[in-house]
Assembly symmetry: C2
Amino acid sequence: MEFAELIKTANVEDVVLTQPFHPPVKGTLCVTGHHLLLSARDGDSSVELLLLLRNVDAIEKRSTTSSGTITIKCKDLCILQLDIPGMEECLNIASSIEALSSLDTVTEMYPFFYRPTSLRLNDKWGLCSPEQEFEQISSLSERWRLSDVNKDYSVCPTYPPAVIVPRTIDDETLRKAAKFRQGGRFPVLSYYHRKNGMVIMRSSQPLPGANRKRCREDELLLQAVNDSSNQGYIIDTRSPQLAQQARMTGGGFESKSNYSGWRRLHRNLERGKVLQESLIKLVEACNDQSNNMDRWLSKLENSKWLSHVNTALVTAGLLAECVEREGRSVLVHGAEGTDTTLLLTSLAQLILDPHSRTLSGFMALVEREWVQAGHPFQQRCAHSAFSHARLRHEAPTFLLFLDCLGQLGRQFPLALEFSEALLLRLFQEAYASNFGTFLCNSDRERCALGVKEKTHCLWQWLSQPSVRPKFTNPLYQSTELAIWPCVQPQAIQLWQGLFFRWTNNAKYLEEAWEEISLRVKQSKAKRCKESPAQETVSSEVAV
Amino acid sequence: MEFAELIKTANVEDVVLTQPFHPPVKGTLCVTGHHLLLSARDGDSSVELLLLLRNVDAIEKRSTTSSGTITIKCKDLCILQLDIPGMEECLNIASSIEALSSLDTVTEMYPFFYRPTSLRLNDKWGLCSPEQEFEQISSLSERWRLSDVNKDYSVCPTYPPAVIVPRTIDDETLRKAAKFRQGGRFPVLSYYHRKNGMVIMRSSQPLPGANRKRCREDELLLQAVNDSSNQGYIIDTRSPQLAQQARMTGGGFESKSNYSGWRRLHRNLERGKVLQESLIKLVEACNDQSNNMDRWLSKLENSKWLSHVNTALVTAGLLAECVEREGRSVLVHGAEGTDTTLLLTSLAQLILDPHSRTLSGFMALVEREWVQAGHPFQQRCAHSAFSHARLRHEAPTFLLFLDCLGQLGRQFPLALEFSEALLLRLFQEAYASNFGTFLCNSDRERCALGVKEKTHCLWQWLSQPSVRPKFTNPLYQSTELAIWPCVQPQAIQLWQGLFFRWTNNAKYLEEAWEEISLRVKQSKAKRCKESPAQETVSSEVAV
């Protein structure tokens, strides 16, 4: 299909653009295959708008006989307005935006066309691989091995080709265990805790079904995770009732008798439609200009978003406690093992693992625990909070993860090397991006479409020396300690930086961070010059 | 009365103290006339607790035959627990705390005994005076004069001896106008806006009563504030209904016909008991460990505290707009003119006046607009959020002011020279202090008791070079512009630093601020050394 077919009117003059924090500006609107452009008419034809069409979540049009207004609601929660002279032009532009923003052929999306000058296509794709991860673990423990049982994605279509499993379990056992797990997501290693050798494993639900089937290989696999002396925990992210109900449709949970080395804990985390509707309600409340305080607070409560943030942090804290304080290994799963499971394993790593709190460690974590682990980004992030399209697979699980991280960052202002700006950026990128990183739903799909050969990698772009500082926390000081979040409901705050990004002017806060960055840079430069040794001492003291 | 009579047991050994963020510690408890002391029993007898008894808001005791527990709830919202061996000792200690914490003879309070080595009693008392204030204004405008009509406090018992009034109004007119205002609080100048010569005046309500009495002198006084061409605004901090009702008890409002140069706006701000109960509910909700998110948010809403913060900011914004944007003078009053009136005039000054945003300018503002202007601190701050004593005159108006300032500080992180630490400190000082600044209800009372001769002044202490930096915002950059707060309900945040000061660990946030301060200091030192001229340039750019 040619984009040109979808563009009936490519240019309109005298269009007035209204966007947050800027006075309205008049200029020439231009629709291309992937962008909406508005150039002002003054001398230098400055570009006032360059909107990736993929970022459009919903549009509303109102037209009279002679002109029309299009309101564009973006996935990143920004709202724009275009006043277009000419009814026909308005309708043409609107229908182009609608069609081009909802293309679902991945290879027609912008990442396949984006060619920034600072990156090259044959640069290394991604930051980390199961191979690198295994190399580190194998230097610490001999109990694990790297298996390429999934090298052609036949055992589990949503896993990467290589996974880390207990050394004593052979590929044949894995193949059989995979048949006993939804979508083939057999238990694999997610995180190795250096301090005590305990691990976090993740999988999907087992498939005992109504007949209480069992699978010896699945049991063996889990047995091999634990020392015989040490009982592990299974955190099931569904309520006991939900887990029980799942048996009726072939799913279920690990029974006590067949998995005697494991103790099951149920902690219900909301997912899917419930989460998506929560986000929709919250954003609606945030954008309502007519709120008084009572109405606002009751809408906030009613959206339940903060409850979801709270529950996620509480449960991730529990998971981290099991590992660090109780010295147990933990298996996490819900049903599919691609959403709340990943939310918990990745949050727990940020609590426990100092490396994951560095900028590059964090990017590697997102790549490993979300992208490679098969979080279906394309389905989950197809729409954000404005679309009236009927919800199917959408769910803001990744946004919930970022929000939880924002809470961590506010509670521990020195502990994360990356800044709020990175969290905001990742939210945007997951929903609409120039890069291929968040395309598709699994490694297999990305492989089939040549994503790694034909698009650029977000992590490479973020890692550039000119870009990195924008996403770095100037106050960062590494600590080896776990950072235990305060999880009382009173301690959870609404993420102002995201939800009020386009309604309250964040300019002053950004200025403050720029000022802090500048001062830190200056003071570091000074200290290095004066006495390089001091640096180390003082940062140790501060930790 | 001798304190000794109130102390039946002065010392108890083996008392266990439990306080927030510290492990329990055992030591010797000692009750003195003004303090509760606990010294640990280890080698160096370190003092683990030095609690000003005035800070105790409420105590609860539980005792068995052999021991007892006293829970101390402080006015600064901290909660402590003492486990005391011996029932009799426990009861004695409890009754001493109860008696000594509620002494109401001002001259027996600790400020009359506190003698810090760094200050001397005959140091200048206070930071500003009506004389100094007038000196500045008289250099800008000839329309004002300093009147000492109240020099013996006979015209208005709650005003300072000197006040600023229109030049054309003589003292005799002031005396008559004062008789037409509740408590004699005739309209006086609160703030002179340099940019356009407009002023903020404040007073109490007029006293037309049910018979619609009028007072020619009061009318003349207000006429003299305005140019004949320019209409002023009266912001009445009561609803139209309340203002109307007030006529039944002798009060009322400025009628349109008798005050033709003024336009009246009614903006209802809650006060007194309603505000106090709001604080009590909020603190109860904050300290409730059993909250889930829904319960917490609905308790937060139910307390209405954030609504009061919001309304105060909205109305102060309106006041500032009238002055700066509409170029009008404004008279503010409610009923007594000692609470919401001062809240609005002082908040508006912080929005408008760059000088009031400096550390010393802010301290002078609090002294002028709260202490000297007759906010009855002793009555309003007699109890905080825990006391079960029947409410009479208590109201957290000053705390509400500090909370609004906290909102400003978060919205404009560079604009205030003072830090959140100063706001927290002023909250503490207003309720229980070593200093005389917040004692009594008016200048007259302070004068009668010799407060200025026999106690130390908080502002002097805060102004010491060794103390000042603790309360300074390292990011401060002065700006001449007004800072217009965002007053949507969504933008108002609960003041975590105050309300969760003792329940969530603020350690990490404090560390972050220390780090920022250190870096700024280092970078400033460096820049001064390198090039003194750069400093000015860069701060101008940043503004």
